[in-house]
Structures are given as C-alpha cells and as structure tokens.
Point group: C2
Amino acid sequence: MARVTSADVARESGVSRTTVSYVLNAKDGVVITDATRQRVLDAAARLGYTPSAAARTLRSGRSDLVLCVLPDWTVGPVIDTLIDHLTTALAEHGLSVLVHSGRGKGSLADLWRAVTPCAVLGLAPFDEADTHAMRQAGIPVVGTALDEDPHPEIFSVPQADIGGLQVEHLAERGHRVLAYAAPSDDRLAAFADRRLAGARAVCERLGLPEPRVAPVDLDVASAVAAVRQWRSGDDPVTAVAAYNDEVALAVLAGLRAEGLRVPDDVAVIGVDDISAARLAAPALTTVWQAIDAQASYLAASVLTALGLAHDPPQRTSDVFHVVQREST
Amino acid sequence: MARVTSADVARESGVSRTTVSYVLNAKDGVVITDATRQRVLDAAARLGYTPSAAARTLRSGRSDLVLCVLPDWTVGPVIDTLIDHLTTALAEHGLSVLVHSGRGKGSLADLWRAVTPCAVLGLAPFDEADTHAMRQAGIPVVGTALDEDPHPEIFSVPQADIGGLQVEHLAERGHRVLAYAAPSDDRLAAFADRRLAGARAVCERLGLPEPRVAPVDLDVASAVAAVRQWRSGDDPVTAVAAYNDEVALAVLAGLRAEGLRVPDDVAVIGVDDISAARLAAPALTTVWQAIDAQASYLAASVLTALGLAHDPPQRTSDVFHVVQREST
DNA sequence: CTGAAAGCGCTTACAG
DNA sequence: CTGAAAGCGCTTACAG
C-alpha cells in the first residue's frame, strides 16, 4: 500500500496538484469553484489522503510540531496535566505537541535543528545561547520565567507568590515561628529558592522572624531530622511551609514519628493539591494552582508567537489559592 | 542565518554532496579516504551542520521519531519514569521519542500518517484496524498487551500477576476474607479487570472466597462507602487489595474515618510504590514494579523491530515484588 | 574513490 | 479560475 499523495488526489478528481493544494489549504486570495472544491475534497476523503508532514516541512521550513522541553527533574502530576491541556488546546490549531524529557542527553541545539519545530516551549529556563540561536533561526521561543515577567512570550508563574501565600495563611492562623521545608533535589533549587524568597518577604512584611530552612527528602528519616532541628531551641517552630505536597507529606510523617500533633503542635501547608494531600492524615492544607489557566496562557502565547491567535494571551487573576484542610 | 545544508559542507570541504552524505552516514560498502573523511567531518563541525530531518524523512520515507502513544487516562509517575528510561535508551540509537497524550482528539491514523514515525509504541492497546494500517504502511508497531503474550513485539506486563501477588501476600498474613478496591475511572477498567482476575484466580487456588469488589474514588466519602459495605454482613472483610497506591491511600482514609485500625482490623496493599505510600500512616505495603526493566524491554523491542538491535529483547524475571510495610 | 542527476511530496510564484 | 515548473535538503543508484 503505497502512500497516497496529492498527485493521486489530483488524478482522482481530474485537477492539478496546485488546485488540490489550494483547496486543502483553504488558501485565501485564491478562489476555487464550489464544484471543483467538492470534487477534490471527496477524492481526498475517498483515498484517505494525509499530506506528508515531511514534505510540507521541507517546503515551508517549518513543521506543525511544537517542541515542548521539560526540565531534567521529575515533573509530577502538575506538569502532566499542563501538557494535556496544552496538547488539546494546540491540537485545535493543527499543532502537535512533542514533549521531550531532556535529561541533559544531547544538546538542545541538535534537537531543535533536527525536528524543525514551528515553536519551542520551554517548561524550564533555557540557556541564553540556545534561546538566541533559535530566535536567530526564526523559531519563536516561549520560555518560562520563575518570577513575574512583562514579556508575553515569557510564561511566568510567580513562584514567590506561592511561598508568600503559604506564609500569609500560616500567619493568619496565628503562627509566628515558621519553617520552610525545601526539596533536597538540587535541580529544584531554582523553584524552591523563589518560593522561599517569597515566604521570607512576607515574614519580613508581617514582622515575623525568618523562616528556618531545612531540606527534606521524601522519606521519614530525613523528615525526622528536620523536625528535630526545627523544634530545638527556645523558640520551636509551630508551622511548616513545604515546597510541595510530597515534601509536606514527608514532614507530616516526620512529625508523626516524633509524636507531635498536627495542627496543634505544628501546622503544615503544601503546594499542588495532589490527590494524596486530601487523603493524608490529617488532610493536608495546600496551595492549589490553576493549571488549566496556565496551560491556556501558554497555548495562547504560542499561537500569538505564530501569528495564529485571535486573542492575545490573557493573564488570569486567580492563579493560586489556599485549600484549607485539617493540617493548619 | 540561513540553514547550513550538506551543500555548504561540500563546498567548504571541496567535495560533492554525495561524499558528504557517505561520510556522515558512515555508509558501509563505500570506502572514503581518511583525509577526505576528516576534511568533511571538520567542515561539518565548523559550520555546525545538522541534517534536516524533514528532507531525510522525505527521502527515506521514515523519520527518526518513535511515536509513543499514551492511553487516555491520567498516567502518573510510573509511566513518566518509563518514558524517561525509554527516551534515554533510544536516544543512544539516534531515535527521538515523541510522546503523544492522545486524549482521543483526532484519530491515531492522522497522527501517524502526519508524523511518519519509524516506529509506533503503544502504551495502551490499539485498535485492530489502526495496528493493521500501520503494519501495512511498513511501520513496526510495538504494542502493549495486558497479559502474557508470546510475541516479542508485544510488551506485556502480566497484570493478572499483580493482583495474584497481592492476594498471596494477604493470604500469607492470615487473611481469608478479601476485598478488591477498583478504580472508579472506566478508562482503567481494562487494567483493573485483569488485576482483579488475577486476584480471583489466586483466591480460588487457595480456597478463599471471592474478593468483594467495590469502586473507590480518590476521596474519603467514596472510600467510606466501600468500607462500610465490606465490613457489613457476617463475614467482614479483613484485608483489601487496591488497584494502585492512590486507591489504597483512599481506602486507608476511609478506614480511618470509620475508626478501624490498620492492619489490625483491616490490612491494605497497593501497587506502584509511589512516594506517598511510604509516607502514609500507616506506611503502605505495596507491589513494586521494575519500571527500568520494562523500559529496557520496550526499547529492545523497538530496536529489534527496526533491525537495529544487537540483542533480542530479554524478559526479566523479577518484574514485581511486594514491599512490606506497616499496612499489612 | 568521487561526482552529476534524479526524485521523495509538497507549496507557490508565475503564466495562462 | 487552473496548470506547468521550480525548489525545499537529502540520499542513492549510476557513471566515471
């Protein structure tokens, strides 16, 4: 079964390949008789014609592929959801999202040169050099910034706000001596540092002492060590803001192992609202993120960069909020 | 900055494009002088030449892309890990894994025809028709079977064994009246049914009554309803095998809400060994899967199908084992 | 050992 | 309104 080409469709419908192309690509400025159009469309359907992406890409120098580069750390359910939304949103415009979990294997340069994507979406910050090279080659790059950024082509989740929101919540509940449970994975440092900075800033604004920071692995022993440190001294910590829900779950386990009650002795708040958060004992208070809004924004950024957007990207206001449960 | 083509490399090194191609593709059967080879290699490096994937694909009718189609349900950390391993393994052979989270949007047929992948990897069972069409078009399809399958191009995780292993573990711990906590998401039914069938088979073999099945959502209310049902009657359930760790966590929450002790009143075992499992209270006993071995097998299957493998896929024996914690 | 030429399937000026 | 022709960048018989 050889591939069906536009020449086949042309023959079948008795027109030239030019006409087939015009009909199928709904080129405006070119007018085609309704009868002809219908004949072509019918023939294409009958033959099961699908244009060759390779040929099209070679011709136009640009594919329908949006290369989405993931960071090299394990991403988790939040990013999965984000990508799902993104895939759906861009599919409506005929774009396919190609996700690359770039574990540092091979350079990004080789990848994008080989794939010829129509746009590159970075879910983790890129090298300056890489970004520059892609822009040079005319490929729109939608990047990710960790903080507020005025450029619409930069997708920014104000990480600092997340940390700030956690502290505000804990302060409202009457806590004064706070801890920050940081991830132990260095690759998360860029995110964690921003969130921590936000937490620090709010502490300062509210006149609270600096949060006491300790790294927490996703196991009980590590959490116990952190808890002991936090509870030592004259002014023991009474509330912990965790980098995310998994870290918060570890803190919960450490507290439990140390015989401390949550939230009476120590309160805990996470980030992400994973399903395990609401099933934990006690159920975990957390910061919910509007992933779908983020995905829409990202999709709109890509479409804008490609000149395909009807609307410019719209920032939503309710990007985060605290989901109050039993742990605070 | 126009794209660097093989013609540029040819000019720069003073040879023809034919020779450039021969050198760069290490075509055997063709012998090139060392001096020439080196000149070409140098020129390519100097110019930063990357062959156009589009042109190559158009020419050969086959790209370097391995299309990996995910099922339409949320996949979770296990599949993330699997894909990571796969990406790394196939990258060593110059293949890029393109993950498509096909939420049923658009037909698979359109996707593969458009992408021209060199192989398609299905992480969920495909339509007969789709598989057939791809094979017709000469694209190797590595599929997923839910049970043991003798074909090497079929990747099979014997789901039934997972359910069986859970029951064996619970029976060893002295339990006789078992329940099966099924996922409420219909899209998981294919997997859940297999695991349940395995659990049933082992119950029968060991002379235990059939497991009592109830669907459990990832929230407390749903789990409470299931627990009440399981504990009602003359012969209350004393152990629950859950579809996966998340469902098991929900069951734990339901048990807790009902004031039942784990494992004294009711034991619980999950599947996957997610990080929340070891952080739960009590820590969750679960079935660990050798994801890396599965990924290697899958990668080897793809390479074999492509005639690139040195070794045929090797099935590992230790695909699963029980990680015993406090919940059983 | 190396080069000139054809052709993969598409789109798009350019003519009619 | 529609067609003949060129060309995107590559690889590979086919000649030298």
